[in-house]
Amino acid sequence: MRSFKCDACGYENKEGTTICKKCGKPHDQAENSQLLNMRYDGTSIRSKTRNRSIIDKIWNFFSSVKVGVTLIAIALVASAIGTIYPQEMYIPQTVSPEAHYREQYGLMGQIYYQFGFHQLYGSWWYMVLIALIGMSIFIVSIDRGVPLYKALKYQNPKRHPNFLKRQKLFASYADYTKEDKKQLLSNLRKYRYKIIEKDGHFLAEKGRFSRWGPYVNHCGLIIFLIGTLLRFVPFMYIDDFVWVREGETKVIPSTEQTYYIENEEFIFETYGDDEEDQKFAEILAQQNAPIAKHFETSATIYRDISDDITGSEPELEEVKSGNIIVNQPLKINRLALYQDSYQLNEFQSMSFKLHESGDDAEESIVQFTVDLTNPSREYTFDNGFRIKLDQYYPDYELDDGEPRSKTNYPRNPGFVFFVYPPETEQPEISFLAIGHNIDPTQENDYKLGLTGFDVRDVSGLKIRKDLTLPILGVGAFIFMIGLIQGMYWQHRRIWLHPTDNKLWMAGHTNKNWFGLNKEIEKIIKHTNFTMPQDQEEKQHE
């Protein structure tokens, strides 16, 4: 690497240095009146000096702020495009996405779909974009961080006159006493400046740590981005779902059959039941349906402690019991159960009775109850009657005249019963569903009738494990620390430089010049020193 000698002090500086590291003499040939560029105190930056190998070129690409800003701007525009129409996850599941976008949004929708904007944020190119930003942050932090560290670690209080004269704040004082100078230094200390001296030259400095703010926040961002990538590692992340009925005990999915959950009760409240809700009366009156106020599942979690033999009966031991409320998940062993959805009043059982077809009093001959989650196939009675459940449709509907079940949940049960009167082999057939009681042959001697039913609520629970959360949390925390550190503090420096018969003062801050000016106003109180000139303003005039 080409280095060069400072013509003022003879120090051997690295290539690309613009301000001598030792004495501070600016190496550009600009006039003395021009303000000095104080970025990294003129220390050489890798990306500005090396551009030979392919690695240099890649390095320089990523450490360019122009490139970084462009990448962020592209991500910004892309993200905005993704909000023009709803993303795929927010459209109804019943139609194909292609048809949905075409029908709802016409040609524009079709184009949107064709370009893959309907799942933009999971697309490979969006992820590549974010990864490139991450890469850029990483490389730029090294590219600038190392020189900044070097510049701030080694600071010579004795600076070349050209360095001082070209600071934004500069003053030269002829009239001052020793007391003035003492007072000035004591004021600086009072405002918590750290002062170092060399041959009567002073450097007063405060808030240096704030210079690390951007690096700390970039570091937090990188940790955060790595955290989001880890989600793709299988054991780090579980996303599952289970419906549990009241009174039911079910295995919790994604736990390798070790954990079970029992839904003891599902509680559901709406607005308007309470005296207190009167204050919302106006809004409630405008709504067609009640507004949910609160819902929760009272649950018990069990662990299977039986020997691990497939097919053996589970042996359940209670682990925890509690309520799963929206915003208050129940946690077991890094797994969190969230109250997600519900199904109110699902049928649990239905009771029927048999009577003679012509009997207006409908006097019962036999009675029985069908458990809708686990129905018996046959019901026999002491008086010789036998009833077979030939077909059971939990969620009955007619599809082109054919009965079928829409789902496996007993939301609208339908039954085909075979009734065998005593000593007969030929059954009478009956079809029952809510609102239907059909005798296909019109010749039945006996008729079935619904006498009652039980309902219960079903709770929908999300099962989540996300081991990336702590990493994301740490990343976000570090990011905030860095942001606050860099934004709410500033790095201020004041140099005092005695010449033959004068005292020079120069000031620099990395931001908030207004604050520095105010502070200097206080620091020169009770002295004969006057406010330094803002040389930038002077140039404007």
Binding site: V65, K66, G68, V69, I72, A73, A75, L76, S79, A80, G82, T83, I84, P86, Q87, M89, Y90, Q104, Y105, G106, M108, Y121, Y271, E276, D277, Q278, K279, F280, E282, I283, L284, I291, A292, K293, H294, F295, I325, V326, N327, Q328, P329, A336, Y338, D340, K462, L469, L472, A476, F479, M480, L483, I484, M487, Y488, K511, N512, W513, F514, E536, E537
Partner: protein, 396 residues
Amino acid sequence: MTSLTDWSSSFLYASFIIYLIATVLFAATIKDKKREKQFTKLHVLALSTTIIGFISQLGYFVTRWIASGHIPVSNMFEFVTFFGMMLVLAFIILYAIYRIELLGLFALPIALLVIAYASMYPSELSPLVPSLKSHWLYIHVTTVALGEAILAVSFVAGIIYLIRQVDQSKSSAKTRWLEFIMYSLFATLAFIVVTTLFSALDYSVTFEHQPNDEVINLEYHLPPIFGPAGGEQVTENRMGALFDTPTWMHGAEAPRKWNTLVWSLLVGLIFYWIVRLILRKRVAASIQPFVNKANPELLDEVCYRSVAIGFPVFSLGGLIFASIWAQEAWNRYWGWDPKEVWALITFFFYAIFLHLRLSRGWHGEKSAWLAVVGFAIIMFNLIVVNLVLAGLHSYA
């Protein structure tokens, strides 16, 4: 309870009037040309009036909180009002640091516009659905609003900077954009005036239309320039719609929203031209003499500092607290809901602002234009995303 809600609206009304007075007082401090750079009694009066207005609005906030039993940031009216209040707070903070009266002369009218805009939305107390019942609602929404308000002060400083610095002697792209910003303010005012006027007249006309499979009755409170496409007028004795709403406006309520937008833009245009005819100059050019005394470097500094102060607050509230809450309520910290995406866009945008400024030397005018764009993004997220790109966060 009713009395509490009454109190609450009286407080809000009072604060509106007090802010108006404070604006006039700040205007007076600028007229007061003799005593430059001094903190006179008039300044103290203007500032304390603002603070009294703020306290009165705080009174609105607290009484409404007690009345409804939850923090009043749960619908469009409440949130936008709160944003207006935070804008005043952000102004007070930055005024305390920089003592620029001009900031008050511009920030307070914008806060007034925001609060008046909020009151166009239904203001009944509304119940909270279970997913909103969380301490994070309080923490998240308040920090977001404060962060956005501080960022908005950079817009205020930026716009003053531009009015002062842009050369008004000839027409250019810059003067046209400045006029466009002025016009946007007029259009907001027009929205408020038109809505208030027709609601005072109790105007209403109903259409029946079929946006999807269902037939829906849609009630208009402004005369229908644009009616629903293929809609049938139900109310009699009212003027019918002049045009059909374009079909690319989707949703059951879209025709009404479109109609309101067109009304605001048209009447805004009329307001704007009346003012221009009276002034016989560009609006920004007429304001220019009033801001001449301002120090552009200081304005630039305020423009940057408010981003420097607001950016961390916004990041914390809009992204971090938001994610924590989303994780609790919906078991995913990020769901790419439009509102979330636009918070991310805001974040990206101000990150760009900071980098361009720090590393590429975008100071002064460029920086001021960026501050204007940033404010436009915030307003877009506040208004358009809520009303048009409906998602989980939609208040409407």
